[in-house]
Symmetry: C2
Subunit: 344 residues, 2 copies
Amino acid sequence: FLKLIKGNVVSFTSTAMKSGGTQLKLIMTFQNYGQALFKPMKQTREQETPPDFFYFSDFERHNAEIAAFHLDKILDFRRVPPVAGRLVNMTKEIRDVTRDKKLWRTFFISPANNVCFYGECSYYCSTEHALCGKPDQIEGSLAAFLPDLALAKRKTWRNPWRRSYHKRKKAEWEVDPDYCEEVKQTPPYDSGTRLLDIMDMTVFDFLMGNMDRHHYETFEKFGNETFIIHLDNGRGFGKHSHDEMSILVPLTQCCRVRKSTHLRLQLLAKEEYKLSMLMAESLVRDRLSPILIQPHLDAMDRRLRQVLNVLSECIEKEGYSYVVEDDLQGHQGTDHAHTGPRRR
Amino acid sequence: FLKLIKGNVVSFTSTAMKSGGTQLKLIMTFQNYGQALFKPMKQTREQETPPDFFYFSDFERHNAEIAAFHLDKILDFRRVPPVAGRLVNMTKEIRDVTRDKKLWRTFFISPANNVCFYGECSYYCSTEHALCGKPDQIEGSLAAFLPDLALAKRKTWRNPWRRSYHKRKKAEWEVDPDYCEEVKQTPPYDSGTRLLDIMDMTVFDFLMGNMDRHHYETFEKFGNETFIIHLDNGRGFGKHSHDEMSILVPLTQCCRVRKSTHLRLQLLAKEEYKLSMLMAESLVRDRLSPILIQPHLDAMDRRLRQVLNVLSECIEKEGYSYVVEDDLQGHQGTDHAHTGPRRR
């Protein structure tokens, strides 16, 4: 897939708006019938989310989608479907190939003679928030589609640590320090590895500053004995100058982590395998490189130390064997866990 | 009036949203029953209007309202009612004194713990475009109200060189080079000084880059033998790096100007009376100084030269006596015209 979209040889045969979701996304269909989800660039890489913005009105960032894929891979979770950056010709690859009249109608030429469009959606789909090319080239992220829902049904789960999505209301987990005890007694978190999955996702989201993890998905086929899919990461990497500690609350409240995750985080804190360095190395291969400005990379190192501090405190308080779940039994040594597939 | 709002001693006894208009404005009432129109700050002084923005979706700028008042004074037009900058306490001077429930309801505390509100209007009145204080102080412009409409009725006139307010459509003046001939034959432009007033307004708008002069007003009492009022200048000073030549079209098409205006423009082009310098000197007295960043001041000098070039070409083509209307007869020498009241 990555080769396909990186190649830029194969172009799109059709384009349509994706319904649902608050911000504009396009479904791009390739000549070989493959499909990908396109999120156009809305912000420059230097722009930070304004301090007075709520997480639910923040823009979705195409570079966050790309960076999240690389981060997930470096954390060895492998729970984000492939995402790559791509320059798209808005005229030839969107306007001329769409059969979506509503989308087509929103194209216009800007005063600076660039091609722009805004589509239809519930937020930011208006002339004032139009997406404009230079003159018709626009950056975007392309995310591989998961297998068709007809072949592989998915289940959507509400994140127990979901935010209120309200300006004033607080969520239960924000006011109840013992909230995790409640979650632990509730299926599917009362058995299996789901709670540990949530802890992994918490670390993943904290490292990129993503406050918008309201739901997550699993493949239905595997029931509750399955991994979770980290879809929709566009609201990560909004601020590099601020670490949103509330994202870590599931970890601070539950004090649980997989051994493989703990070891990996410790590894990425070492100078030789520094997270920011591995991320930079990985991201440089994307077409739209640089994907993240240095302050975002530095922020990840800083946040990683904070995650490890939280885990140290947990271990001190609750004991190593309570906090760290050994998921490496049956694997040959710890090395394997860092390179091979994960036990979910 | 300026002393009143500058003094900051007198505070507001009530606040209400102004209906009409696309962007949020507030009517502030003083203890002495005086009223002023408040436009809150929406952009930093450094932000330029993005190149892909249309003039009709541009933000209204509080500092443009202030700067326009000073510019109009320096041009010796005196057709903009007084405007001054002011720091307003959003809690005490807006939220606590408004009887407007719809306005009151839109107040909230932002994630950065600042007081914000967004009001009700057709553009930019939503959480995403909220106006936020620090923590509850917000900058804004306060414009003196003209005499009550019951005492002094006003007439609203469509600007003959109004833009189309449409992404694709062009206005007649944009496609017809002889458009001015048509205007000149149409009342009230066929007699009196109205056409010359429009030329003055054209210069005024071009100097500040204001493309949004769709209407203008006059006091009804004086019939057609009156001056025009330069209200609503918030869309000036959007770009300093671009000179929008289309704003000058009325002047290039009509090739007419008052002698007093012509002399004043020539004076302001001289090194000793340089427009940017006089503007800077005048603006420094505003509470919210600096009102304009240097690039905007420099842009005005550059544009002034362009206006004078257009007039030179006109004179070369049509002759001095056709282009320059002597409005100084009856005055004692030209000096008077630069310091005393203008003949309308």
